[in-house]
Chain length 157, copies 2
DNA sequence: TCGAGGTAGATGATGCATCATCTAGGCCGC
DNA sequence: GCGGCCTAGATGATGCATCATCTACCTCGA
């Protein structure tokens, strides 16, 4: 409690650069996607998962696991996407509590139209300036932090 | 337009890990901060800037430059923080259009109380598992991407 | 077979982020 | 000294994220 170990200079700079980079990058990606195809980054991620699923159908809890979203966020988001006709809710035979989220034709059309521009933007703004080594390190770092987030789930913060 | 260069396996994994890591990390930081001190991460960042300022006062456009937030987001956020008594709006003598945002006593108390716990959480969840080399690379990567975001400001995405 | 506890998911309230737009004051050339 | 343009900032509407809570169904053991 008393002797807080503050961040040193290198840590502080790395942290701020990282936070700002992510913020500005996703803001840009969001705007590009929104402007060019009317989808948000969040819509896009949901649609990707459904596209990858065998028959374009997933249980909400599967989506939740894959996207690592909060349950409530997912549920609200699906409601909005349903309203826009991008997905449909169906009953689930195997589990009476559950639902099935199905990609609609319109949803499929939307992501097929959106994907090339989005990938190009990600490539141009992010990957193009990075070496393979940097990429590998970024992945190590991400995995390490994700592991800490998992194990430290019970601790105070 | 025709031959989209999709992400290869390494790129895809790095990208998803990065996005998920950031999302989960900030969610955790937000919750910790919120639970322990009633501040959001956004509140915290604003208060840090004001604390660093000579007399605890900054023009909104200075905050905007430092935080790299949208103007409108900042303005709305300051309104909410003002309502909660964390900052005050004052008139600006040098520029009749402008305002001055001042850290209140309550705002100062809030960040002084919040900082130790927040820094410890950042350290525990993020820095503790990383080497200095990884940190340096992370910073290089962030700066590189930030540079691309600046130069590519006019391009399509 | 019934009741306790767990899981799947929806929902209302609230604060946050973004967009479009608006006001007001500064600046500069004529 | 005024008309056009820029900059500083506020605001209303809308969609998004989170929290707390709720319902319905499943499961398993006594």
């Amino acid at each position: 409690m008393s002797g807080t170990r503050w961040l040193d200079d290198q840590e502080q700079r790395a942290w701020r650069a990282f936070i700002r980079m992510h913020g500005r990058l996703t803001a840009r990606l969001n705007r590009q996607l929104q402007a060019d195809s009317g989808l948000s980054l969040a819509d896009y991620e949901v649609l990707v998962q459904l596209t990858d699923a065998p028959d374009g159908r997933l249980r909400p809890f599967e989506l939740q696991r894959d996207l690592q979203w909060e349950q409530s966020r997912l549920s609200h988001h699906l409601t909005r996407m349903q309203r826009r006709g991008l997905v449909a809710r169906e009953e689930c035979d195997e589990d009476g509590r559950g639902a099935l989220i199905a990609l609609t034709d319109e949803g499929r059309r939307a992501i097929v139209a959106a994907a090339p521009g989005h990938v190009e933007t990600v490539r141009r703004l992010f990957f193009e300036g990075l070496t393979r080594d940097q990429l590998a390190t970024l992945r190590q770092v991400s995995d390490e932090v994700l592991a800490r987030l998992d194990t430290g789930a019970d601790l105070g913060g």
